[in-house]
């Protein structure tokens, strides 16, 4: 499988990365190089093979239901590029 320029642009849009036409063209050849390389996986017979989930067979750890965190809004917004009264501010979103 390989990608064309339109696909590169669509993927960049999905990934929210602005790309110029030149960048898109360069990415097209790089991505096709990588996709060509990974193509060899298609020769592996994976019939009946379970996808890997965990190195060590174990049950997922669970938390007890208790409030143990929060009440640190100042810390939460401490690194924010733009905040007001502990809200994060972003360019207006239209629904």
């Amino acid at each position: 499988m390989s990608v064309d320029l339109a696909t590169v642009k669509r993927v960049a849009r999905l990934a929210r990365i602005a790309v110029s036409d030149d960048e898109a063209a360069r990415m097209e050849s790089e991505l096709n190089g990588i996709l060509g390389f990974v193509e060899q996986l298609s020769e592996v017979n994976v019939d009946g093979v379970e996808p890997m989930t965990s190195v060590t067979p174990m049950l997922m750890k669970k938390r007890v239901d208790a409030v143990t965190d929060g009440n640190k809004a100042d810390d939460i917004v401490a690194n924010a590029p733009n905040s007001d009264r502990n809200f994060f501010l972003v360019p207006k979103v239209v629904e």
Partner: protein, 500 residues
């Protein structure tokens, strides 16, 4: 999923159009906030309405290197709900990431369940009606699945001319997404479904069902078709936040789609918003991008696994659910199906009723709760939780009738006194002198006085015995309603010589 039509098209549900009849097809996706202290994957609080970003942990804000750890209570709540929906419980389920960008979605993905949800197929029986003949129809609505997922934060758009304000307090709160099959065929059915689902969740204590605070929200899938044809193209109406609005949204949307189709147009599959002010649905502008959520199993979380013993223990602890309760009320207490339905419609009412009925006649208790209590609440515009009369007080009133201390009529007055001023029913009867007069001597004197004072009536009653009632009324009046009505009736007949 393959959509299977399990319903029979019936003319009574058709919507007449300009060019013939139409049928509306509805499926619901309900987001129900799990009742828990802390969030699905972090230890911050789920309390509604706190200061901005105060219920937020580093995990909820998706700081670099933060990891989710699942809340065991949320798992139990989902399983309980699944059991309450008579659904398949999956002992192994997977958390996936649903990837998209939005400012109130800090991780850039929502942790949800996609291919392997915790709960599979189940069902809810709804009761629709009454129709013109006063009949109710029970309809079984299929549940497709229930899965656990994270809620998003909240963006506010009215604080600033060019900026949106983002608060992550809700970010990461556990939701159950409960997906119905496309089995609903009218706005009334949709409303009945939501009402019933909410009742079940409240009985289970797994969601408070409070739509005002957003702890229960519905996405409604609506399509229309000619009766008997295949399913049409559907539109999804997002985040409708009251049962009444769900009804309005469906009515509007069905009409809109019928209008387009009758004009020769086609329906675009899209996401729409309901505007409660206008009573209309409109297309969402921000969803112009075709979505590609790139689901994949969350590598930070292992599969969620539990054994059958875990499920069985939760099952053994499940409270009695409304359908079972209704059946029991009918079978054991002899209530009518209608009365039983009213009483189980809310867990609080059912609990109240059971407290009143304990050790008393079920039918009498039901009449008092339905006619007097619910009637008074309705008249006063009060919610059930605000009732000023406790089950003990109402039970006391019923006891006083049963042992002959007060008459049924006085009981109504006593109920009103307690409604307004409170108090112990037995004490009130004493202090306010409401006790029924059963002393025959006193009643006899009152009867004699009325007969002596009304010779004309005495003459008439000989020709027309039904006039005896007039004498009874006069006696009751002169005794302030406290005389035992049966005793008065008997004495009047004897004194007037009407005995056969």
């Amino acid at each position: 999923m393959t959509l299977v039509d399990v319903r029979i098209s019936e003319p009574k549900r058709y919507i007449p159009g300009a060019t013939g009849d139409w049928e509306v097809i509805i499926g619901m996706e309900v987001h129900a906030q799990v009742t828990s202290q802390s969030k699905l994957f972090s230890g911050s609080s789920t309390v509604f309405g706190n200061a901005p970003n105060s219920n937020v942990s580093l995990v909820d804000a998706a700081m670099p290197g933060m990891l989710p750890v699942i809340n065991e209570e949320c798992v139990r709540q989902a399983v309980r709900t699944g059991l309450g929906l008579k659904a398949q419980i999956n002992n192994r389920s997977i958390f996936d990431r649903k990837n998209y960008f939005y400012p109130d979605l800090p991780q850039g993905y929502q942790i949800s369940q996609f291919k392997d949800p915790i709960v599979g197929e189940g069902k809810i029986v709804i009761s629709v009606g009454p129709d013109r003949q006063g009949q109710f129809e029970d309809v079984e609505i299929g549940i497709e699945r229930l899965h656990l997922e994270q809620d998003a934060g909240k963006s506010m758009h009215d604080q600033h001319p060019s900026m949106s304000y983002v608060d992550l307090n809700r970010s990461g709160v556990a939701l159950m997404e409960i997906v119905s099959k496309p089995d609903l065929r009218s706005s009334d059915e949709a409303k009945a479904y939501l009402t019933k689902l909410r009742t079940i969740l409240r009985y289970l204590g797994t969601c408070d069902g409070n739509m005002d605070e957003g702890s229960m929200r519905a996405d409604v899938n609506v399509s229309v078709r000619r009766p008997g044809e295949d399913f049409g193209t559907r539109c999804e109406i997002k985040n409708v936040n009251s049962i009444r609005f769900v009804g309005q949204a469906i009515e509007y949307e069905a009409r809109r789609q019928i209008g387009i189709l009758e004009d020769g147009g086609t329906i675009d599959q899209e996401t729409r918003l309901f505007d409660p002010g206008k009573g209309e649905t409109r297309s969402m502008r921000s969803k112009e991008d075709a979505h590609d959520y790139r689901y994949f199993p969350d590598p930070d979380l292992l599969p969620l696994e539990f054994d059958q013993a875990f499920v069985d223990a939760l099952k053994a602890d499940l409270p009695e659910l409304p359908d079972d309760k209704k059946e029991r009320f009918v079978a054991e207490l002899g209530l009518s199906v209608y009365d039983a339905s009213v009483l189980v419609s809310e867990k609080a009412i059912a609990d109240y009723f059971e407290a009143v009925a304990a050790g008393r006649d079920g039918k009498i208790a039901a009449n008092w709760v339905i006619n007097d209590l619910l009637g008074a609440l309705n008249k006063a515009g009060k919610a059930f939780e605000e009732t000023p009369v406790s089950p003990a007080q109402l039970g006391g009133i019923i006891d006083l009738i049963k042992d002959g201390t007060i008459s049924g009529k006085i009981a109504k007055d006593l109920f009103e006194i307690i409604w307004n001023d409170g108090g112990n029913p037995a004490e009130l009867v004493e202090t306010r002198g409401l006790k029924q007069v059963t002393d025959t001597g006193a009643i006899e004197k009152a009867v004699d006085d009325i007969i002596a004072a009304n010779p004309d009536q005495v003459a008439k009653v000989q020709a027309k015995p039904s006039l005896a009632g007039w004498f009874v009324g006069q006696v009751m009046k002169s005794t302030g309603g406290k005389a035992n009505p049966q005793a008065v009736q008997a004495l009047v007949k004897v004194k007037l010589g009407l005995e056969d």
